[in-house]
């Protein structure tokens, strides 16, 4: 269950990073949300066999992370933890799609492998962008932006409460597993039977706790909608941010930049 502790501390670190003050942090949350959305749209809209043309998109998360002071090691570790998911999703492609699409010397490359690589790359790109967005805007900031962008309240409130609930659930899990560890000696009491009982406990405890939190919210006039106080200011710089990046994404999407560069280089050389 130490993975729970790790997960919580990751979320916590994201929150702390988001409280910094850098050029990227100062960009209006709406600008960042919209730009990330355009980014994701462009990335997922590529042909399924595309790999090289996706590479220029790495620029967006990399630039934002380095300007926003988000350590690459931290991002890399999260990507590593979530990547098995992507690796599984595409794992059957090489199996089904055996048509050869390229040859390197004696080595034949089937379409399945190419589309597999493409899926994994896309997953990494979009996840990295979403992470960098949260790490420079905060989860709250993202919700605030969504609210101001007229995403329905129900949806935004759900997201906010879900986020809070993750912490409640995580903390209860930690407390419960700590209580067990303190009283189980030499591995006794750590078996599966206790484990399933603990899961039931965990559910009841989080429900009871969520109920108390809900009562506290009702005491303070909660009526199903979380209102956020922050005023946002969308300035010229924010507009430049959105338009600049979107133009870059459009370019990357339409022109195959790596191929074009390659031709330029060979053209010059030849």
């Amino acid at each position: 269950m130490s993975t729970v502790a790790a997960g919580l501390s990751t979320l916590d670190r994201l929150d702390r990073l988001a409280r910094r003050d850098t050029v990227v942090h100062r960009v209006d949350p709406r600008a960042k949300v919209v730009t990330t959305f355009v980014f994701i749209l462009c990335v997922v809209s590529f042909d399924r066999y595309e790999v090289l043309a996706l590479l220029p998109f790495v620029l967006f998360p990399v630039v934002l992370a380095s300007e926003g002071g988000i350590p690459f090691g931290f991002l890399g570790r999260i990507l590593l933890v979530v990547s098995p998911f992507a690796l599984l999703v595409g794992a059957f492609n090489p199996w089904f799609d055996r048509e050869v699409v390229a040859q390197f010397g004696g080595l034949e490359l089937s379409g399945g492998w190419v589309s597999y690589a493409s899926i994994v790359l896309r997953f990494l790109l979009t996840t990295a962008a979403a992470l960098v967005l949260t790490a420079t805007t905060s989860f709250n900031g993202v919700c605030l932006a969504l609210e101001k962008l007229r995403v329905p309240d129900v949806f935004v409130t759900q997201l906010l409460l879900l986020y809070r609930y993750i912490f409640v659930l995580g903390e209860e899990t930690l407390r419960l597993s700590q209580a067990r560890r303190l009283r189980s000696f030499g591995g006794r009491g750590m078996g599966l039977r206790v484990y399933t009982q603990m899961l039931g406990q965990l559910l009841l405890r989080t429900v009871a706790r969520a109920q108390r939190i809900y009562l506290a919210m009702k005491c303070r006039g909660f009526d199903g909608q979380v209102r956020m106080a922050k005023r946002l200011h969308f300035g010229a710089a924010d507009l430049v941010f959105v338009l600049g990046w979107s133009a870059a994404f459009a370019l990357f999407r339409i022109v195959d930049v790596p191929q074009w560069l390659g031709r330029l280089v060979t053209g010059v050389a030849g």
């Binding site: 916590d12 929150d15 409280r19 905060s138 989860f139 709250n140 809070r164 912490f167 903390e171 706790r209 108390r212 939190i213 009562l215 506290a216 919210m217 009702k218 005491c219 303070r220 006039g221 909660f222 009526d223 979380v226 209102r227 956020m228 106080a229 005023r231």
Partner: protein, 250 residues
């Protein structure tokens, strides 16, 4: 609701699982009075307090706040009048930063952003927690959490303050600060507590609960001098009223 009074008549409550937590509880609280509710674990203190702003509704009997009966229709008004500080501050703090948490209530009252900000600043200053504004509440110490939880309620500017165990889990200095803070309020106050010294210091009147009933209701000094009554309520004289254990004088 110009008079911040509380009137509880024949209150009884049974939890959904069949546990009878309150039975025939009646008392009146006058404007500006500070009252301690004491009693052993499970005596029904928290259950009683949850009724005062309509978080639980009575199985029997009724409650009036400032002459207004607590019913479904009057709940919004009642909750603006009665501010409630919970036993566990972790239950009360749920927003990502202290400032947003304290601002949550005022936002729901429909105040404009400047109004919300003013209330947040004032409430945090009141509990000497202004420096915590941007911190996430779940990373504060117990005493800091308690201070912020009190601020979240103060920001609503309630007329009546209801607190469940305001001094539990605090170190002596933090406890002192909370006592000083509570003493500075002119609100009508109801405090459920095991800290009889706190009760003796802040409240002129004490209600002793036992097994869901009111075992005694009277001036704090008299109640705490009555050893038979305290014993029956599972309580002990506050240290401040016990003789010195070393020199055995009173």
């Amino acid at each position: 609701m110009s008079h911040h009074t509380i009137s509880v008549r024949g209150l009884g409550f049974v939890y959904p699982d069949g546990t009878r937590a309150l039975e025939g509880v009646s008392f009146e609280v006058g404007h500006g009075e500070a009252i301690a509710v004491v009693g052993a674990n499970g005596a029904g203190k928290s259950t009683l307090l949850l009724h005062l702003n309509g978080l639980l509704s009575p199985s029997e009997g009724s409650i009036d706040i400032g002459g207004v009966p607590v019913t479904k229709g009057t709940l919004p008004e009642i909750r603006r009048t009665v501010g409630m500080v919970f036993q566990d501050p972790d239950d009360q703090l749920f927003m990502p930063t202290v400032a947003e948490d304290v601002g949550f209530g005022p936002m729901n009252l429909g105040l404009p952003p400047e109004g919300v900000e003013a209330r947040v600043a004032e409430a945090l200053a009141r509990v000497e927690a202004a420096h915590l504004r941007e911190r996430p509440p779940y990373h504060l110490s117990g005493g800091e959490k308690r201070a912020v939880a009190i601020a979240t309620v103060l920001a609503m500017e309630p007329n009546i303050l209801v607190m469940d165990e305001p001094s539990s889990g605090l170190d002596p200095k933090a406890r002192r600060r909370v006592i000083g803070l509570l003493a500075s309020f002119a609100h009508t106050r109801i405090l459920a507590t095991h800290d009889l010294d706190l009760a003796a210091e802040l409240c002129e009147r004490t209600i002793v609960m036992s097994g869901g009933r009111v075992a005694a209701d009277g001036p704090t000094a008299e109640i705490f001098a009555d050893d038979v009554l305290l014993e029956a309520g599972g309580l002990e004289r506050p240290l401040g009223m016990q003789g010195c254990p070393v020199c055995r004088t009173k």
